[in-house]
Symmetry: C2
Subunit: 446 residues, 2 copies
């Protein structure tokens, strides 16, 4: 690989401030020096026009849900009826179609400035729950997909043992389930390593994993210092069932079993009581908000500012991929709280960008998300000459990008030191839209 190792950003976000003419040196995958005010740029530096931000972290993804985009919008119903549609897609996938779809989706993410993704992976087995001859065939499909798309992957190998409190796995869920938590651990431990992959764990939810299972997954992650993610309180019905069965809220149950902590990420955390907020914040956990999915699935608006005030680190995910645009996710955190609270300026623009970058990378176990020495060399150039950002004040480039940029404004992306997007084109995947179309048609039919 002979990528240039010297970059010159017209503007760059350094430690929450925007600096001009920033020279960034990279050595292998890391940033080795950062020097603002370098004018003129050295001749051998590759120019990055516009505003350069750290790589965006998509901390919660189910890649295959991308096949539902647009298809699930005629249906009415609620989260649970949407889930039935999603299960129909899950039933159709095999290791090849899963790989091809994930590769195209990860390439779409790369075009949107995402340099690392957390894949909440539960589609482990063949139909009916039969293991593939390679029990991690599906996980390896994701690893291949991310590698080919040029982004890092945190494989959140998900433990999913039951269909609900006291209910067995049913129908498509059989594909998600290992025989028990020990079998999950044996399989998850056998996922092969790769340079671009962080191997990690997930508890699907309190409804899908029993209490001994939670503890086992917790210990597995703790032994490895690995991130541990868990869906929490996306829907009131889950809270009701959990309280009826265990006498506790999902957050209380997780706290009681030692699942919360600085390496834990609670995904959604939408319907919380004040005690839940205090527990999550006090544990130093991350909370992954997925606002465009929470809008799409009618989940509601979570208490993001209260969580942040209590000590939780907010990060972001595009989850079901109704859209893939981390700028939209970031501003939605603020805008949706404005709608419910009647006040503006709840989250500072710098905090929203941090959620989309450094906090997300931390939740995924990567030393990344800032343009600083020893961080992963992830750089994302945002066009300041689009109709959306034209006229932005040079003192307000950061809020302008957070509140007005879109995925379409990303022009260049460096991921772990490698240029993977230039002039809005993916350099490793030819014609991403065509590959998306082919991969989706292979699953859904024409």
């Amino acid at each position: 690989m002979t990528e240039p190792s010297l970059w010159h950003a017209q503007y760059a976000v350094l430690d929450g401030r925007v600096e001009r003419d920033v020279l960034i040196e990279t050595a292998r995958r890391l940033i080795s020096s950062v020097t603002p005010g370098q004018r003129p740029p050295p001749p051998r530096a590759q120019r990055l026009a516009g505003l350069v931000i750290p790589g965006l972290a998509n901390a919660h993804s189910h890649a295959f849900h991308r096949a539902l985009r647009g298809r699930a919008q005629r249906a009415g119903g609620d989260f649970w009826s949407w889930r039935a549609l999603m299960y129909q897609v899950a039933e159709r996938l095999n290791p090849e179609t899963y790989r091809d779809l994930a590769r195209a989706v990860y390439a779409e993410m790369a075009l949107a400035g995402i340099t690392a993704v957390g894949e909440f992976h539960y589609l482990h087995h063949d139909r009916g729950g039969r293991p593939y001859s390679n029990p991690n065939a599906m996980a390896e499909s994701l690893i291949t997909a991310a590698g080919e798309a040029g982004i890092r992957l945190t494989l959140l190998d998900t433990c999913y043992l039951r269909g609900g409190f006291g209910r067995p796995l049913e129908g498509p869920q059989l594909r998600f389930g290992d025989a028990d938590a020990e079998a999950w651990a044996v399989r998850a431990s056998a996922v092969p390593p790769a340079d671009h992959v962080r191997r990690a764990a997930a508890i699907h939810s309190v409804r899908a994993v029993d209490e001994p299972g939670m503890k086992l997954v917790r210990d597995w992650a703790a032994e490895r210092g690995a991130p541990l993610h868990v869906h929490v309180s996306e829907q009131p019905a889950e809270n009701d069932q959990c309280r009826a069965t265990t006498g506790r809220s999902p957050v209380e149950l997780l706290a009681d079993h030692g699942v919360l902590g600085a390496k834990t990420t609670a995904v959604h955390a939408t319907h919380l009581a004040p005690d839940d907020i205090a527990l999550l914040g006090g544990s130093g956990a991350s909370v992954c908000l997925c606002p465009t999915t929470e809008r799409d699935l009618a989940d509601g608006v979570g208490p993001a500012s209260s969580l942040a005030a209590a000590g939780a680190r907010l990060c972001l995910g595009s989850d079901s991929h109704a859209v893939i645009d981390l700028f939209e996710e970031a501003r939605a955190v603020e805008l949706d709280e404005r709608l419910t609270g009647g006040r503006r300026g709840i989250h500072r623009p710098e905090a929203l960008l941090r959620a989309a970058t450094a906090h997300g990378m931390a939740a995924l176990g990567f030393q990344a998300g800032a343009i600083a020495v020893d961080q992963q060399a992830d750089l994302v150039a945002v066009d300041l000459d689009s109709p959306r950002l034209a006229g932005a004040d040079s003192d307000d480039l950061l809020p302008s990008a957070v509140f007005a940029a879109t995925a379409a404004d990303v022009t260049a992306v460096v991921a772990s030191g490698r240029l993977i997007v230039r002039d809005r084109r993916h350099l490793l995947i030819d014609d991403v839209p065509r590959q998306l179309t082919a991969a989706i048609e292979a699953v859904m039919g024409r």
Copy 2:
């Protein structure tokens, strides 16, 4: 003008359905024939790739607010403190800078597929309220701007007489006010005609126009068969003041004075009582939702589905231009109600597209917004090969566009029979982003 008068759409939305290979003939400014299933296209037809939808109607615009994009996001506060920032911009404008800014903003709209705009125009006079030597200098700036950008304009000449219930105009508001309603009518009647312009009226709000003034504006519009727009219940404080002063809600007050009717558009209509909803619906009025502005200004989520069920016609505006993207406005109507109601599929995708097209055009007084004979010849091509829409099912192109397309996916625009955007470039305005930057810097400084 030698524009081609024969168009061939790969797909087109006809009467809420998507048809293939649609041949569309235009004669002067109107559509003269529409024929689906024309394969191969006649050689002289100009090809429109992707999904062709009717022209988008931006039914509520304050063009000059575009200068605040990104600049007003560091501030906290609420709607009223945001208004103070907006007033600072209003103070700086003159007929030349107003024209240049509006032209660039209307060109941004054209690039986003908007073929007609309703400008809620209240910045009538020079500082301190001194009339310009041409009393309609500012209105004529807007007329020139829309003409140069190639889109139609409904000039909603706005009556603004007082700073609030029982309060005189103050500071920047002096520029908005005519001496009294009669003086407003004299000036509004003198706005010159133009082919691309519909002259119409607005009552700024119940707080800014007294009851005799409302009646006069109502009669002025009725005599001319002109659209009449009015800001209604954007903020609870307005409702409280109105009820304290008049004993009625803003909607009740407008209804009592005969302001509501089929040519009336209530803008925002966010904080309504059930009686207000019944009055608006029963009158056959339009309601213009501005969801991205309502998010931005922390206004809240209005009762859109109840209004539609009661008989109101929903339409859309980008209002403060925090973003200019009618696709985002359209889906936000549904998504924000999902957040507050916990249900999906409240508004059908076809209804959301109709709000963005036919309903908006009706609210602006244009026979447009459908691809059908005798409608204004407005055609907007949406790229189906972007990462956002790739993989869309051919049976679900309409919901896919409504829920996943963005302004950046508009590739070509025909407005009143004239091709104004091709290959994402404005054909009449060279380098729209540069003109936006220049126009905003001329007002705000560098």
